[in-house]
């Protein structure tokens, strides 16, 4: 039994795929032009034909599963449908073939698009200015926290600590550290929300910021958000918004109005751009007006109907990457916003929240629900009762869902919930899909009761069975 194929195994010495003809200009003696000492002697790459390549990657594609294949309720990742028109317009030659250093007068179309997208995102989040430069959510976090660091330093303040809730994404503490801050974790209260009393004790003259997701990673809205903002601001600290969960509140509530000073968004979550098996994303950052001059350069600006790259931000943190951002992703997000408009975006959030609450009610009796009450766009259940009653863990449920043709929910996150399953259906799924998924969980629950070994062996219907992750880490074979 062979397992997953690799292109190297199709290689046959002497076989060729893509070749070029004569250069059409005089031939060159590389030893003379580059120097023999600098030349390589061999290059070991696969030798395959075009048909080999096409069949191999088509075979690999079939071993994958995307939103186009089926329901993908991966909590915190907002796996909504990725509209096809977005792909088509982003690939238009006028965008795809445009070099980043082309003179601005020959790129007014894309600059206008980026300028307008900055403005749309500012409006949606209630912030004053937006940069599109960060390439992903974590990159946006880095950008946002560096802005906070530089702003505080300019005020002559020595604030060294950043507070994160214990329910936070791992990127939050990792980012804080990458910006040179010390991380202070605050525990959530029994309702799964920020414990405002504990927060008051934690915030002092050393506190630079609190990093917060709202709704939080449990899918719960931080109701005391204004009070939280006041706690921070009264003591001279800032409030940072992790935009992973913005899909819950578009047109219903805005981070800027809640009191956040800096936000990052994930265009690949909320704004329907595909995740591409792990990227590219795009992580725009929005700030309140007093932080504008700290944004990375350049930002896209407009004067007298002409769009240009503005490098004149005197307090800028500098660049966080080359060029201007993941523009191809920004185009797709722009198309999505233009397709939906204000009402469409609000409806997207409304239906995302409706779907989550509907599915929650359908399945919650099967699990332990750690936090009661209505959820926003996602919810977290604990499978600890399955573990106790049938010896079956959250991972086993997830693997069995693969056999039923679903991508499983996020497992074991947030860390504060034992045997967590985090379910985010998104607005693009129909009632029929949600009903069928709930039925699948019901069926799997019955299997867990009667044939738990089935779940522990799952998946049984895929090209590979369960994988030995310990072997991968111990043997560490990272190339062929």
């Amino acid at each position: 039994m062979k397992g997953t194929p690799l292109i190297f195994e199709r290689s046959c010495p002497g076989r060729e795929g893509f070749r070029l003809g004569d250069p059409g200009v005089p031939e060159v003696d590389l030893g003379a032009t580059l120097g023999r000492d600098f030349l390589r002697s061999e290059l070991d790459l696969p030798e395959v034909s075009e048909v080999d390549v096409v069949r191999h990657y088509t075979a690999l594609a079939r071993m994958n599963f995307g939103v186009d294949d089926g329901f993908y309720p991966l909590g915190s990742c907002t796996m909504k449908y990725n509209p096809k028109i977005n792909e088509e317009v982003a690939a238009l030659p006028g965008f795809a073939n445009l070099h980043p250093y082309v003179p601005e007068e020959l790129a007014q179309g894309i600059l206008k698009l980026l300028y307008e997208l900055q403005a749309y995102l500012a409006e949606i989040t209630g912030m004053d200015f937006v940069t599109l430069q960060p390439a992903a959510g974590a990159h946006g976090e880095l950008t946002g926290m560096l802005i906070i660091k530089k702003y505080l330093e300019d005020r002559g303040e020595k604030r060294t600590r950043v507070i994160v809730p214990d329910s936070a994404h791992g990127t939050n503490p990792a980012t804080a550290k990458e910006c040179g801050f010390e991380v202070v974790e605050v525990k959530s209260n029994p309702d799964g929300l920020v414990d405002v009393e504990k927060l008051k004790e934690a915030v002092d003259e050393k506190t630079a910021a609190l990093m917060l997701t709202n709704p939080n990673t449990l899918g719960l809205f931080e109701r005391r958000i204004r009070e939280i903002a006041a706690v921070l601001h009264e003591r001279g600290a800032l409030l940072y918004y992790d935009g992973a969960n913005l899909n819950a509140i578009m047109g219903r509530s805005r981070p800027g109005d809640m009191g956040f000073d800096v936000v990052h968004l994930n265009l690949h979550k909320t704004f329907s751009t595909p995740h591409g098996s792990g990227g590219p994303g795009s992580g725009p950052v929005g700030v309140k007006a007093f932080l504008r001059d700290y944004l990375p350069v350049p930002v896209v600006d407009e004067k007298d109907g002409r769009y240009f790259l503005n490098y004149r931000l005197p307090r800028s943190i500098g660049r966080v990457r080359a060029f201007y951002g993941n523009v191809g992703v920004a185009i797709k997000a722009y198309a999505y916003i233009r397709a939906l408009g204000a009402k469409g975006l609000r409806e997207a959030s409304e239906m995302a929240v409706l779907n989550a609450n509907y599915l929650k009610k359908l399945v919650e009796d099967l699990f332990v629900v750690p936090y009661r009450g209505p959820c926003m766009h996602e919810f977290v259940v604990s499978a600890k009762n399955w573990k106790q009653n049938y010896g079956v863990r959250a991972a086993d449920i997830a693997k069995r869902l693969l056999d039923y043709g679903y991508h499983p929910p996020t497992m074991y996150f947030p860390l504060i919930v034992e045997e967590a399953l985090m379910i985010e259906p998104t607005e693009t799924e129909s009632k029929e899909t949600l009903d069928a998924f709930a039925q699948a969980l019901l069926d799997i629950h019955e299997e867990a009761r009667t044939r738990p070994e089935l779940l522990k062996e799952a998946p049984l219907s895929l090209p590979v069975r369960r994988l030995d992750e310990v072997k991968a880490a111990r043997d560490m074979k990272l190339k062929w």
């Binding site: 074991y412 310990v470 880490a473 111990r474």
Partner: protein
């Protein structure tokens, strides 16, 4: 129920220390290896490096977790368990024996007072839901 050996001293972070004359042998407890799961890698200091009581001296890693190792006592590392490089699973198989990590020439035996006894450590585990 994890094993706790009576002749060892313990830290709150689940390291053990075996006093061998002026030296202390250090490893992680049975409870620690169980909570981590299959250990895939152990990062240890070199011989001659200094360690400080309560400060990290290395990292132990499983597939789903990584945890700092905290020195039970201060001193100089005089021996390192080289076998863990090739066979990190020794930490799971025999945490109090072949899975030991470092041997330290203790700088101040007074520090031993700050460590937990087997009885105290068992109480700590009971508190963690053992």
């Amino acid at each position: 129920m994890s094993r706790v050996l009576p002749n060892l001293r313990y830290t709150r972070e689940h390291e053990w220390l075996l006093v061998e004359g002026g030296r202390g042998r250090v490893g992680i407890t049975d409870y620690a290896q169980e909570s981590l799961g299959d250990v895939v890698y152990v990062e240890l200091p070199g011989v001659g490096d200094k360690v400080v009581q309560g400060e990290p001296f290395g990292v132990v890693e499983s597939v789903k977790a990584a945890s700092d190792l905290y020195a039970p006592v201060s001193g100089v590392v005089v021996e390192v368990n080289e076998a863990l490089k090739e066979s990190p699973e020794l930490v799971n198989r025999d945490p109090y024996g072949e899975g030991w990590m470092i041997l330290v020439e203790m700088a101040d035996e007074g520090e031993l007072e700050k460590l937990l006894t087997a009885e105290e450590y068992e109480k700590l585990l009971a508190g963690e839901g053992e």
